[in-house]
């Protein structure tokens, strides 16, 4: 394996270690934005915006396969699997985009 591909393997390894730990170690508290929203959200404006896009509550307009990094009915194992899938999808996506532009630059 060349020196550069080792970088990917190293990055993936670190990411997978974090990904395996995250479902157990990550804080379940709301993040900064959610926490602020709980305290100061103008509910009237929120419901107006939700009505405009046809959603019942805030989230995403198209349902995600693994909402909140979980797989329904699978508890912690589902969260670990969701993280592993996400890490591989993320790496492949970044590699793909990078490779497309690598080729385009070498041709020019």
């Amino acid at each position: 394996m060349n020196k550069n591909n080792k970088v990917i393997v190293f990055g993936l390894t670190i990411a997978l270690v974090i990904g395996l730990l995250a479902p157990f170690l990550a804080s379940g508290n709301p993040d900064g934005l959610e926490s602020a929203a709980e305290k100061i959200m103008n509910e009237h404006i929120l419901s107006k915006n939700l009505e405009e896009i046809g959603l019942e509550e805030e989230g995403t307009i198209i349902p995600s396969p693994m909402p909140d990094y979980s797989i329904s009915g699978m508890e912690k194992l589902g969260e670990v699997i969701a993280m592993i899938i996400g890490i591989f999808v993320m790496t492949a996506f970044a590699f793909l985009v990078g490779s497309i532009f690598k080729n385009s630059s070498s041709k020019n």
């Binding site: 550069n4 591909n5 970088v7 990917i8 990055g11 670190i14 990411a15 974090i18 990904g19 730990l21 995250a22 990550a26 804080s27 379940g28 508290n29 709301p30 993040d31 900064g32 934005l33 926490s35 602020a36 929203a37 305290k39 100061i40 959200m41 103008n42 404006i45 929120l46 107006k48 915006n49 405009e52 896009i53 959603l55 805030e58 989230g59 995403t60 307009i61 198209i62 349902p63 995600s64 396969p65 693994m66 909402p67 909140d68 990094y69 969701a82 996400g86 890490i87 999808v89 993320m90 790496t91 996506f93 970044a94 590699f95 985009v97 990078g98 490779s99 532009f101 690598k102 630059s105």
Partner: protein, 212 residues
Amino acid sequence: MHIPDGFLPLWLSAVFWVISIIFVSFSLKWASKEMNEKTVPMFSALAAGIFAIQAMNMPIPWGTSGHMIGAALTAIVFNSPWAGVLMLALVLIVQGLFFADGGLIVMGANIFNMGVIGGFLGYYVFKALKKVNFHLSVFLSGWAATFFAAVFCTIQLAISGTFPIDLGLQFMGIYHAVIGIIEGIITLVVISYVSSVRPDLLKVSKKVITHE
């Protein structure tokens, strides 16, 4: 700091989609110049790490938590704010499509806050201060990227009327001033590690680190 669909009205979401598409297309122009055998693996490895660490919410006071963004880190590694823009665009696409983390309608706003503001603020704070103190500049780069991304997020919410501007800046500012410390520390740890193990992967390394 991922805005969900519903927090911004359609018109404002559309405005930020347009702005972000312009920035992302410039970041792709950067990619077509800079992507090669060495940078593609580094970019992919960093994407994996940033995706994973973003899911690791760390507790801060006030019953709240925060996580890494990574735009400043990416901008420093590749010595370009455009790298941070591209990285966060890709991360937010994966998070939005697969994990319902950040809305799809408001994705342009999220790319703008975390990628554009995070990448540019992070990069220029680093660049302005690196000669004063390399480690401090890296830390402050991560901190400023997080803090000012939150400020811009609050401005969007205030324009929307979802948050009042004064309380919005107060809560979002205080939370993200603390979350920014986490960002600064992780950014510093990763940059220090890469610069000691594989300095050739850091585009800024020759100019800055060897002078220390």
